[in-house]
């Protein structure tokens, strides 16, 4: 049952074949069985999940009209506030904090009757590409427990791949939904910036952060996308327009006559051989399905990574200033006679991890008077140039595509002492955040050399998110008929797995 897709589960719930309580319990059992090895969850809300499930079952029994995903369980990235449930963002500094309010995403999930199982592990404050920066220990990739599950949303992606949840919420600032999806053989979507409310998403980099759906199929991602998206007056950057018809697009999966642009700069040197092979194969399948493949160029993508590592740290240095021990979270050194200043300093010293401190220092420097123009100012100009590159490319193509990441999952510990190598993981995902457009990663098979999953990235213009679902669903169908079974059915079994 737990190996079904979310939409299959939804159908069984609707037909009465299974109750939400039973389905939720099955997932809780799976978590109990495998999460000691995977460590996808930071907090499992057993009681809360079962009572939400029971409430949905009762409503269904009374004949109330329910939304499509009502009763289906979900794993929530620990960067989203949920009233009364611990929210740590993978950081010591928020240990023990229980938010008094729901994020808009959680409000929408609850409105749709989606059962929240618990909170998933992540790189501290979403800074990282491996989930190794979590203050609560790394998450392991279910394909190979010695490898990273990607990051920052490694917990959400691993929970899907380990069948601990059929749906998950991620957030994506530079690839934190898509890169984990790629390395775990799951689907992850970063919607257009402003498509999903950021209210209650603990900010890393406000102008780049975007919450989105994680799932095992393109249709499941679309159903979840539709459930959480839409205008929110509590988020000033939220877009006041109808949600793109992503479910319709995912169901049709039609690419006939679509122009698919291959970004020249996001391929070739630096990309693992197996990654390139799978990418070429996917292009052939899309062409066979009726799409026209064209090549586009985005010359300024070369500067995206550098600009990102100025803008994101700058914003984070300011966003994370609020963690000062005054109102919530950790408080260190509050002894008799200690000044507020020393408590603030000690708390931040103890409460933040190395990567977070590195970025706060970097951002503080980049915003300093005398350096602002050279660093933050120039980075903003690069951002404009990247957006222009995308605009030009979208004149030639309806969507753009690339491999999601240059490599498959690397070993835990392999890059922890080399931040630059770590940062390079996001070279293909970052431009999407810089321009605020939509991006999706879906599995395109495994690399021949290591047998690990490879992700295929689709990028669509602002508020044309439906296009990536059309392409994703078409490719997914073509791959399925080629493989005969979903990619995740080939994942090695975890000890104790149901």
């Amino acid at each position: 049952m737990i190996r079904n897709s979310a939409s299959e589960m939804a159908s069984k719930l609707a037909s009465g074949e299974v109750t939400s309580v039973a389905l939720t319990q099955a997932h809780l059992d799976q978590i109990s069985a495998v999460d000691k090895d995977v460590h996808a969850f930071l907090h499992v809300d057993t009681e809360g999940a079962l009572s939400q499930a029971a409430a949905v079952d009762a409503k269904r029994k009374s004949g109330e009209k329910l939304s499509r995903l009502a009763g289906v369980p979900l794993a929530l990235k620990d960067v989203m506030t949920q009233k009364g449930i611990p929210t740590t963002c993978g950081s010591k500094i928020l240990e023990g904090w229980r938010p008094p309010y729901d994020s808009t995403v959680v409000t929408n999930l609850k409105k749709n009757g989606i059962v929240i199982l618990g909170k998933t592990n992540m790189d501290e404050f979403a800074m990282g590409s491996s989930t190794e920066n979590s203050a609560y220990g790394p998450t392991h990739n279910p394909w190979d427990l010695t490898r990273i599950p990607g990051g920052s949303g490694g917990g959400s992606a691993a929970a899907l791949a380990a069948f601990e949840a059929p749906l998950a919420i991620g957030t994506d600032t530079g690839g934190s939904i898509r890169q984990p999806a790629a390395v775990t053989g799951t689907v992850g979507v970063k919607p257009t910036y402003g498509g999903v409310s950021r209210y209650g998403l603990v900010a890393f980099s406000s102008s780049l952060d975007q919450a989105g759906p994680c799932a095992r199929t393109v249709l499941d991602a679309a159903l979840l996308h539709e459930a959480i998206a839409g205008y929110d007056p509590k988020d000033s950057t939220s877009i006041n327009a109808p949600v793109p018809a992503v479910v319709v697009a995912a169901k049709a999966g039609n690419v006939k006559g679509m122009k698919i642009g291959v970004v020249k700069e996001l391929n070739g040197d630096g990309y693992q051989k197996g990654v390139r092979t799978r990418f070429e194969e996917s292009l052939e399948l899309l062409a066979a399905a009726g799409a026209e493949i064209v090549e586009v160029s985005a010359p300024n993508f070369e500067y995206a990574l550098a600009a990102y590592y100025l803008i994101a740290p700058s914003e984070c240095s300011s966003n994370l200033a609020r963690f000062d021990a005054m109102r919530y979270g950790l408080r260190v050194g509050d002894n008799d006679g200690a000044s507020a200043e020393s408590v603030m300093n000690l708390t931040r010293e103890v409460g933040f991890g190395r990567e977070v401190k590195r970025r706060i220092i970097l951002g503080t420097y980049a915003l300093s008077s005398g350096y602002y123009d050279a660093y933050y100012g120039s980075a903003q100009k690069v951002r404009t140039l990247i957006t222009q590159d995308f605009n030009k490319a979208f004149e030639k193509a309806d969507v753009l595509v690339s491999p999601t990441c240059p490599t498959t999952a690397f070993k835990i510990g392999e890059k922890t002492n080399d931040p630059l190598a770590m940062y390079l993981n996001d070279i293909a995902t970052i431009p999407v955040n810089m321009a605020g457009i939509g991006g999706m990663s879906l599995p395109s098979g495994v690399a021949g050399e290591d047998g690990l999953p490879v992700g295929f990235q689709i990028m669509s213009p602002v508020m044309k998110d439906d296009r990536m679902y059309s392409v994703g669903a078409s490719l997914e169908a073509a791959l399925l008929s080629k493989w005969g079974a979903p990619l995740l059915s080939t994942i090695p079994a975890l000890a104790g797995s149901k």
């Binding site: 989203m80 506030t81 929210t87 963002c89 928020l94 904090w97 938010p99 008094p100 309010y101 994020s103 950021r198 209210y199 209650g200 998403l201 603990v202 900010a203 980099s205 406000s206 102008s207 007056p233 509590k234 988020d235 000033s236 950057t237 700058s314 914003e315 240095s317 300011s318 200033a321 609020r322 963690f323 000062d324 005054m326 109102r327 919530y328 000044s339 507020a340 200043e341 603030m344 503080t364 915003l367 300093s368 008077s369 602002y372 933050y376």
Partner: protein, 502 residues
Amino acid sequence: MSLTYEEVVAKYEPVLGLEVHVELNTNSKMFCGCSTIFGAEPNTQTCPVCLALPGALPTVNERAIESTIKIGLALNCSIAPFSRFARKNYFYPDMPKNFQISQYDEPICVNGYVDVEIETDEGPKVFRIEVERVHMEEDTGKSLHVGGATGRIHGAEYSLLDYNRAGIPLVEIVTKIVPGTGKYAPEVAKAYVAELRDILRSLGVSDVKMEQGSLRCDANVSLRLIGSDVLGTRSETKNVNSLRSVERAIRGEMIRHAERLNSGERVKQETRHFQEDTGLTRSGRSKEQAEDYRYFPEPDLVPVAPDAAWIEQLRAALPERPSIHRKRLQEQWAVPDKEMSAMINADVLDVVEATVALGADPAKARSWWLGEISRIANERDVAIKDLSISATDVAEIVALVNAGELTDKLARQVVEGVIAGEGRPSAIIAARGIKVVNDDSALMAAIERACAGQPETAQKVRDGHLPAAGALIGMVMKDTKGQADAAKVRALLLAHLGQSEG
């Protein structure tokens, strides 16, 4: 080496810069829906946004933007078609986010001016104060540092934080440097702040109560030798909480600077705190090393791009400028300058105007507000406006006096009654049984009783000794419980005794 003010201005020219912070009177805060009511229990007017809980986001209060644009228009500013909020980053416990949302290089209103007129040795003179910018920001919370010598965070035993004020909309009005005011600098500054206060009040955008902090002035002062065009080092005096303090603070700083300069010392660039009791300033934070606030555009808020048609609508709806309005009233009412100033100083101009608008004669309205009502306010040591008497009450009383239904003396009783909370004038008249005795026969009877009671006094009057009439009039008034018109009694009495006013 102590200098007189005259010695200071004989040698130095002051250059001013004024920064005025105005708390807007919106119902909700700048970036969230919390109430802004003054004086609530600490930390009861807070929410995830103004407490900066993780994940919370600001949204802009449209009403605050409207108020700021109105202020900009009233100060002759251009309204930027596109302006942005920026983060001003610094750590302080009463600032929940550890950054303040403000505006930096793209403020909403720029390049305005305010003309103020003051009395000089050569007669009235207009000084133009140029306004560099008007921008929006949010207020911080309040800290109360307990223990320690200075009342500041350093050395305090503990600190209490109240976030009710955190996020209250503030507008900052910054002048360009103001040279050329010479010895009138303190008065020009005071007149400017007074004019600003009047303009803001006429716009209805703020309570403008300096004593409650809803209007706060920081005064920058520097001196240079007369004839020099090099700016001196400035000090920035904060905590200037009344119009009189603006004048005193600037005068005091000019003398302090001059004394330092004359003795060959350097003026330090620093903030100074004005001491209401001594009129002196005390040293605050040094500004010699400029604090780096790491301003950058606020990514959580979209830029402010007000519609041009809306701005024109707001412009067309602006009230008459208070200074022009005052001049017009003075002409209409034919009031001498001194009386006009008295009304302005007593802060009753608007109630007098309202009373006149309700039909009262300007002279009568003025005399009630500046006379009896102001006397009662003084007696009770409260502001005239805090007394529970309205323009409607006063207009009604004036009308009753005009109609001969109240004497001045009775009217004073009615005023007291209204202030005592006994109700509207008509209700008080009914309840207290106040009525003018106009019935001549009743009065005549009382006069006859009085003359009969004091025949000798009556004879004196008959003999032409008019001052003696006072005692008889007193008796009549007593007899009629003070409800008779004393002038009328006098006339009837004299006629009765065969006399007339000399």
